[in-house]
């Protein structure tokens, strides 16, 4: 059993966690970051660049900068394969037990694998454990896992990242459909929130498809196109020309003769169906799988959507020296997550400052 002491412990090594470590370093505050997996970078590691004629501001490339800076900052120590299993607070200090996770042999040069059970004594803790993509199997009607050619937007992303686009029959599809809000804006699932990033994410991918496979027709099933920055509003009219925007939530995706068949209502309210070579489900962002355990461990509330941190001002007030950064707190994009980590880091620093002052006066 090893014992480490640090002003701040960060749980989660995705962009938010790494950013939090860097933000603390920029403030001169040392930290220890514990990532349960073998590598830093989280889900963003699997995201591809979606620039076509120009950068679309997705921010996926920022991971490179972050990791490069992280490597050069002596204030931040990174531990991989380290899972927080227990935590208790004593005398204003969190004692968090990290347990080593099985090594799958994918070591990250920036992180040191946790060798043994370790207790970290930290004055503040930042939870940056990310999100869980909605499991589209819960929306049986969209055919995921049953209908060939139906995939998640993340799976499509991985494919596009390899420069490949194949549909239900293993061939480049003549048409691609995106179905938005799968798992978002859905009272029947209890997910009564917009996942914020999916419109931009899907349309950026649509742009990539139109660039790489110009003959492919793209249809975008949606309810409302969400904003994504000023240049986005300028780009939307062009997208509307290149892509078929259908304002309707499809009723069902079933196996058709030539690929997945999407049934939806036309502008006249009449049901119709169309077959696509590939259907991508833009699954929403849901609270991290560990949200329940962490909220219990750290005595932290969850907001009404189930994400960590109930009070909007939590990142400042930081009850008990626990702060939340990135998508663990709610759906947000990559750049937003990076910046959100600055708020958590700033708040953590303030809590150290306050604790220091109290100690000096006490």
């Amino acid at each position: 059993m090893t014992i480490i002491s640090t002003p701040v412990l960060i749980l989660g090594g995705g962009v938010a966690g790494v950013s939090a470590a860097l933000e603390l370093a920029r403030r001169g505050v040392p930290s220890v970051l514990a990532e349960k997996g073998p590598r830093l970078g989280g889900r963003v590691r699997d995201f591809c660049c979606k620039a076509t004629q120009a950068c679309v501001h997705c921010g996926a490339c920022r991971l490179g900068d972050l990791l490069a800076e992280a490597a050069a900052r002596p204030e931040a120590a990174f531990r991989s394969l380290a899972l927080a299993a227990e935590a208790q607070r004593e005398g204003g200090v969190w004692q968090v037990e990290l347990r080593p996770q099985p090594d799958e042999g994918e070591a990250d040069p920036l992180a040191q694998p946790l060798a043994e059970k370790t207790t970290v004594n930290a004055q503040a803790v930042i939870l940056a454990v990310g999100y869980e993509p909605f499991d589209p199997r819960r929306k049986t009607r969209f055919g995921y896992g049953r209908v060939p050619g139906v995939m998640t937007a993340l799976e499509l992303e991985a494919m596009l990242g390899q420069g490949v686009l194949v549909g239900h029959d293993g061939q480049p599809p003549e048409s691609v459909a995106f179905i938005q809000c799968v798992g978002s804006r859905d009272e029947s699932l209890g997910n009564l929130y917009c996942s914020r990033v999916c419109c931009g994410f899907a349309l950026d991918m649509a742009g990539l498809i139109k660039e790489g496979w110009p003959e492919t027709a793209v249809t975008f099933f949606h309810m409302d196109v969400q904003g994504y920055g000023p240049s986005w509003e300028e780009a939307l009219p062009h997208m509307r020309q290149a892509i078929d925007f259908v304002r309707a939530m499809p009723g069902e995706v079933s196996a058709g003769e030539n690929g997945p068949r999407v049934c939806f209502a036309g502008p006249d309210g009449q049901p119709r169906s169309r077959e696509f070579g590939l259907v991508a489900l833009s699954q929403g962002l849901t609270p991290p799988a560990s949200a329940g355990a962490l909220s219990e461990m750290f005595g932290l509330n969850r907001n009404q959507d189930g994400f960590l941190g109930e009070d909007a001002a939590l990142a400042v007030s930081g009850a008990q020296g626990v702060f939340v950064a990135g998508t663990a707190q709610g759906p947000r994009g990559i750049v937003e997550s990076i910046d959100h980590a600055a708020l958590a880091a700033g708040a953590a620093m303030e809590s150290l400052f306050r604790a220091g002052k109290e100690a000096a006066h006490g």
Partner: protein
């Protein structure tokens, strides 16, 4: 010329390379220990053992991330690649190094000009980080906020301002120039005007709401924040009709939509008031936005989607007409009450509107992923809150926190902020550098170019464009770059090609490919540069004349350059060089620019393979 030694630091990716053999091939001696005049180290500075770092303090050392340059393939090939990279670095190390000369210490005081949550939060954070802060507010006290901020929250935060924060009441920022470490600001207060020097400046002017231009009668149409008195209600026989407009010409921002929904809810809650919410897209991408939108519908608000630009406004808003998209029928409404939601906005400070002194807004505040968190292209200047269109609340706190940390880092981490060296003997005061530097580093002093002490990001655009070779960030002058280029090309085998790779994109992608064991074409010399913008025509021509058959420049995608236009400039120069080659009959295909992101290694590998194969 100093004799250069190779200091071998073993790193993942360097396995199987024999240090002695690499040194021999590169024409260096392997570190004999003890005092040495100059060195190439096979690791980035942060990864080298402390002993090596202290040994080399003040020495001309080239910290080479060799593992990010070699790649995979047969041992012989990897050896050749390593030797070329080491030779390239040695070429520069051999020139020795200039001691860093600081013309001025960066000023540490931070100016926060503005009011409201963003301003107070930024002042507070910067103060906590130990900076003296002047919070110049247009109001009588720090706690006062613009129309777009929650007054209570601002008061709460203002009450917690640390002692380092000095509040300058009723102050106006009249003039601003300079960059990080050396801003000059003219502040007008009731006590008179004062000129002060600041290390960093945060602009966070008080904001308000900008109502959309719909030809509405201001007597009828009120901002959503300004709803009619509570008592106003209809009767069972005569319901009052209220309308709330939330972005019908162009979709509302999520923030404006949320405020419109709140207003609609408030109106609908009154007795016998029927509220219709008009919008073109339901922008629910805000925390709790979807929930409140549903709440409003549940309360009885009629959600009316109008095609963008499809709202017909007559009689100043007393008659509204639109087509109901679901029924495909015309609908009209004569509202008794009308509330309008617009995006947050703040007036552009007058000095920023001066096109001679300040770049246009899109160049100053580029909308790229590298300019979030309040950052602007001008080093040390942060624009946050309403002026940037940032939604009230947490998003402004985020910006304030990010800006404070960034400015602190910039003003205190001397090693990260080199000051360009200017050879005044060569300088013709043509102001090219002043013009091309996006970060505002060089400015014309009384008789020479002077550089802000904490502003340079070493993109090297000044050096690339300076016709007199008079200015360069330390380590990136033409002689240094060319020495490396020549030395590296001399050790490259086969068909020689140079890949100039931007540190934000190309070089990162290259290193990633090396980690994956990618085998690079023989004769390819990687030349990492801080920004593609450093690669001017001269460097390209020099590479060609030093034996390279082709030059590829890999820079960021449009709109993703840390220095705003380094990528575009590089592409322009590559194009010009290619055109010149064509005129000379040498073939324009020898020079190519590649747009790239750091996470596009595959694209880089394919482009390089294709490029090199065409060189024959």
């Amino acid at each position: 010329m100093a004799r250069v030694c190779l200091i071998w630091v073993e790193r993942p990716g360097l396995e199987g390379l024999d240090p002695a053999e690499v040194a021999k091939r590169a024409g260096l001696s392997l570190d004999p220990g003890g005092a040495i005049p100059a060195a190439v180290v096979t690791a980035p500075e942060w990864a080298a053992p402390p002993a090596v770092r202290s040994r080399l303090a003040g020495k001309p050392a080239q910290w080479l991330d060799l593992a990010g340059e070699v790649g995979g393939g047969p041992a012989e090939k990897r050896l050749a690649r390593a030797a070329a990279a080491v030779a390239r670095a040695a070429g520069r190390a051999a020139l020795g190094t200039l001691p860093q000369v600081y013309t001025a210490q960066p000023a540490q005081t931070v100016l926060v000009a503005g009011a409201g949550l963003a301003a107070v939060a930024a002042a507070r954070q910067a103060g906590l980080l130990g900076h003296p802060v002047i919070l110049a507010t247009p109001f009588g006290r720090a706690a006062q906020a613009g129309a777009d901020d929650e007054a209570e929250e601002v008061s709460l935060l203002a009450a917690q301002l640390p002692a380092q924060v000095e509040v300058l009441a009723e102050a106006e920022l009249r003039h601003l120039s300079g960059a990080a470490g050396d801003f000059t600001a003219e502040l007008q207060t009731p006590q008179g005007a004062q000129l002060k020097r600041f290390g960093a400046v945060v602009l966070a002017p008080a904001g308000g709401y900008a109502p959309p231009e719909l030809g509405l009668d201001p007597e009828l149409a009120k901002p959503v924040a300004d709803l009619p008195p509570e008592g106003l209600a209809g009767s069972p026989d005569k319901w009052l009709q209220a309308a709330v407009i939330a972005g019908v010409d162009a979709p509302a921002t999520a923030d404006a939509f949320a405020r419109a929904v709140e207003a609609a809810l408030a109106l609908q809650a009154r007795d016998f008031v029927q509220t219709t919410l008009l919008f073109s897209e339901a922008r629910v991408a805000s925390e709790g936005g979807e929930r409140r939108y549903r709440e409003a519908r549940q309360a009885g608000v009629i959600a009316a989607r109008v095609a963008a630009g499809g709202l017909e406004v007559a009689q100043g808003g007393r008659l509204l007409k639109w087509r109901d998209l679901l029924l495909d029928e015309e609908v009209q409404l004569r509202p008794d009450l009308l509330a309008v939601a617009g995006p947050v906005a703040a007036a552009l400070p007058a000095f920023l509107a001066n096109p001679v002194l300040w770049p246009a807004w899109p160049q100053l505040v580029p909308e790229g992923p590298r300019f979030s968190g309040g950052r602007t292209a001008r080093s040390g200047l942060y624009i946050i809150g309403a002026l940037r269109g940032t939604a009230p609340g947490r998003a402004r706190r985020v910006e304030a926190a990010a800006a404070a940390a960034d400015l602190h880092d910039r003003l205190t981490q001397g090693r990260a902020t080199p000051v360009p060296s200017v050879r005044n003997t060569a300088c013709a005061s043509c102001l090219t550098c002043v013009r091309v530097c996006a970060h505002g580093v060089p400015r014309y002093g009384s008789d020479a170019i002077v550089c802000a002490p904490a502003a340079c990001v070493a993109c090297g655009m000044c050096a690339a464009e300076c016709p007199a070779e008079a200015i360069a960030p330390p380590g990136w002058s033409n002689p240094e770059l060319i020495a490396g280029l020549e030395a590296g090309l001399a050790k490259s085998a086969g068909t020689k090609a140079v890949l100039f790779a931007c540190g934000q994109s190309g070089a990162q992608a290259f290193a990633e490919l090396c980690r994956q064991g990618h085998e690079w074409p023989e004769g390819l010399l990687l030349y990492p540069v801080p920004c593609a913008g450093r690669v001017g025509m001269q460097l390209i021509m020099k590479a060609l004349s030093s034996g390279a058959a082709g030059i590829m420049v890999a820079g960021c995608h449009d709109g993703n350059c840390r220095s705003v236009s380094g990528n575009l400039r590089a592409r322009l120069r590559a194009g010009e060089t290619a055109a010149l080659l064509e005129r000379l009959g040498l073939g324009p295909e020898r020079v190519e620019f590649l747009h790239l992101a750091s996470n596009q290694p595959r694209r880089l590998a394919q482009a390089v393979d294709r490029f090199v194969s065409t060189l024959g």
